[in-house]
Amino acid sequence: MFKFLVKRIYQMIIVLLVVSFIVFFMTSVIGNPVHTMLPERASQEQVDQVVKMLGLDKPLHVQYLIFLRNALKGDFGRSYTHFQPALKLIFSRFPATLEIVVVAMMMTIVLGISLGVYSGAYPKRRSSKFIMGWSIAGISLPSFWVGMVLIFFLSVRLGWFPVSGRGDLGSFFGIRTSLATLDGWKHIILPSITLAGINIATIIRLVRAGMLETMRQDYIKFAKAKGVNSRDVLFKHALKNILIPVVTIFGLQLGELIAFTTITETIYAWPGMGKLLIDAINNLDRPIVSAYLLFVAVLFVVINFIVDILYTLIDPRVEI
């Protein structure tokens, strides 16, 4: 176990180094931040001063080492537009993003896994084929379009839900969240449905594939042959083993959800870190872009790590 942990952590560090390298070299190509910080008719002296202040006059590899050293300290520089430390901004927006991701994840778990298991366990039924048909439609939907349709019909036309924003925040065990107020829930429902929609379709398809695979295994055939009723075969034998692929899918989809918050948050003007990223991209706000990317990279690496650990807990065959 110890050896595995050391090896895994070593791998994580390598991945993060590679990512930081790519992020740095690519973002140092983005536009020229100097112009966004200065008035249009700035003198050459002022330009030089800002270039020096940002360290843009140093050679690239020196800039990278400085970037890396600062990144390790959590310092990505100040946002060019918000004039605050970039990572602090990301952290301050993170809870809002986490809220919709958590709610969307719940919907995905409940609907995605149950429908997936059902259509995999009884693939011949008409209802299973119906679910599969809808899941293909689901993966064909652009999430921004789903968001717009929901906003128009449920918010603008029917007025059931607010069109945008996060609503009132309440306190829940000392955490400020919109999940603690009714108004907050009203605001969160549409963004989470939009976020979960496509995910549910993907999860249904993947879980179904895993289920079909499991139902073909010998021990299932054997259980059926010895006369275990089909309900027990499903719940006592098959479901335990489907957990393994589900956990993998789960880890992957969590990353996917976080990536898609950029779109959902833009449509619903949800003040999370996804919207912060899109705004930063449009304003050439380099510190925020690199802080966001590295923060998300750390998040993904940690999620993958947890998934690996969970594996060993669920599946005794996996040895580490």
């Binding site: 991945v15 590679v18 990512v19 992020v23 690519m26 973002t27 190509v29 983005i30 293909i136 439609a137 993966i139 064909s140 939907l141 652009p142 999430s143 921004f144 379009w145 717009m148 349709v149 906003i151 128009f152 603008v156 069109v163 993947l206 594939a209 990353g255 996917e256 976080i258 990536a259 898609f260 950029t262 779109i263 833009t266 449509i267 990223l277 899109i278 991209i281 449009n282 872009v289 990317l293 998300v296 990279a297 993904f300 690496v301 993958n304």
Partner: protein, 297 residues
């Protein structure tokens, strides 16, 4: 030419074609794809206006709802936007760029991935493990996020979207092609060609490649759909195509600006057409996968 005809006849009598004719979803979905392609190719000949010739736009025609709603105009079947642009014409023109990006993007991604996968699988060793490690790392990040990141640094243009899609898409091809290459590599007929003295290049392209093509075709079908969606999303966020070459995603983005004032048709129909195209592609991709390669997920 008798040889060619016999090939067609062979196809007509194949199991694949038989199953195709028996499957309503396969027929409907292929018709959906075909009609989308035909509309993109010839649609501009029949649209009521060229939506990007500014001289042809009349401000008096602005904000017209679809023809079947009160206040609609039979000349503008799906309504007009704030500049008096016919939505249907805009969709036809937009779909040209969307489909172009989908197909050309997949073409480049496939070529890159196939070459990398063949080389990795056939050569093996250190090179293989490095390539596959890169692929693993890349696959652990959502492709949408990678696309966003690449487009921020590249800046918006059609060719940059294509480069971004190639960089996202090669991984899946490389993985599949490498896997298939590994299984084919040790078969006897490859061994035999090597004994005869065929060069590696020749073995790779003449004997290994044909064996991986089915998987590549199945993957490509699904990839076209997902590339169209990624492009649409990028353009919706203002990070995809430039304003001068609007795609369906960009039309949605334009329409989003006027959605709150009740002009739903400006963004609704372009999005619906994306769904139509991608749904057709995904349905057909599903059929192909079941027919040609049930192992592929």
């Amino acid at each position: 030419m008798p040889v060619k005809q016999s090939k067609i006849q062979q196809f007509l009598h194949s199991e694949f074609f038989h199953n195709y004719r028996k499957s309503p979803t396969a027929i409907i979905s292929s018709l959906m794809i075909l009609s989308a392609i035909l509309i993109a190719l010839f649609g501009p000949l029949i649209t009521p206006q060229d939506p990007y010739a500014l001289a042809g736009l009349e401000l008096a025609d602005a904000f017209k709802p679809p023809a079947w709603i009160e206040g609609g105009d039979a000349n503008f079947l799906l309504g007009t936007d704030q500049q008096g642009r016919d939505i249907m014409s805009a969709i036809v023109y937009g779909s040209r760029v969307s489909l172009y990006i989908g197909f050309v993007g997949v073409f480049f991604a496939a070529i890159t991935g196939i070459v990398v996968g063949l080389v990795a699988g056939y050569v093996g060793g250190r090179l293989e493990s490095i390539i596959m490690r890169i692929a693993d790392i890349q696959l652990s990040f959502p492709s949408m996020l990678i696309a966003l990141f690449l487009m921020t640094t590249f800046g918006r243009s059609v060719s940059n979207v294509l480069i971004a899609l190639t960089l996202i898409g090669w991984v899946r091809y490389a993985r599949i092609v490498r896997g298939e290459t590994l299984t084919v590599k040790n078969k006897e007929y490859i061994e035999a060609s090597r004994v005869i003295g065929f060069s590696n290049i020749r073995i790779i392209f003449k004997q290994v490649l044909p064996n991986v093509l089915t998987s590549v075709i199945v993957l490509s079908t699904i990839q076209v759909g997902s590339f169209i969606l990624i492009e649409a999303t990028l353009s919706f966020l203002g990070l995809g195509v430039p304003i001068t070459r609007p795609t369906l995603g960009m039309l949605c983005s334009d329409g989003f600006a006027v959605l709150y004032s009740g002009l739903w048709w400006v963004s609704f129909f372009p999005g619906l057409y994306i769904v139509f195209i991608v749904f057709g592609i995904n349905l057909f991709g599903d059929f192909l996968r079941d027919e040609l390669n049930p192992r592929l997920k």
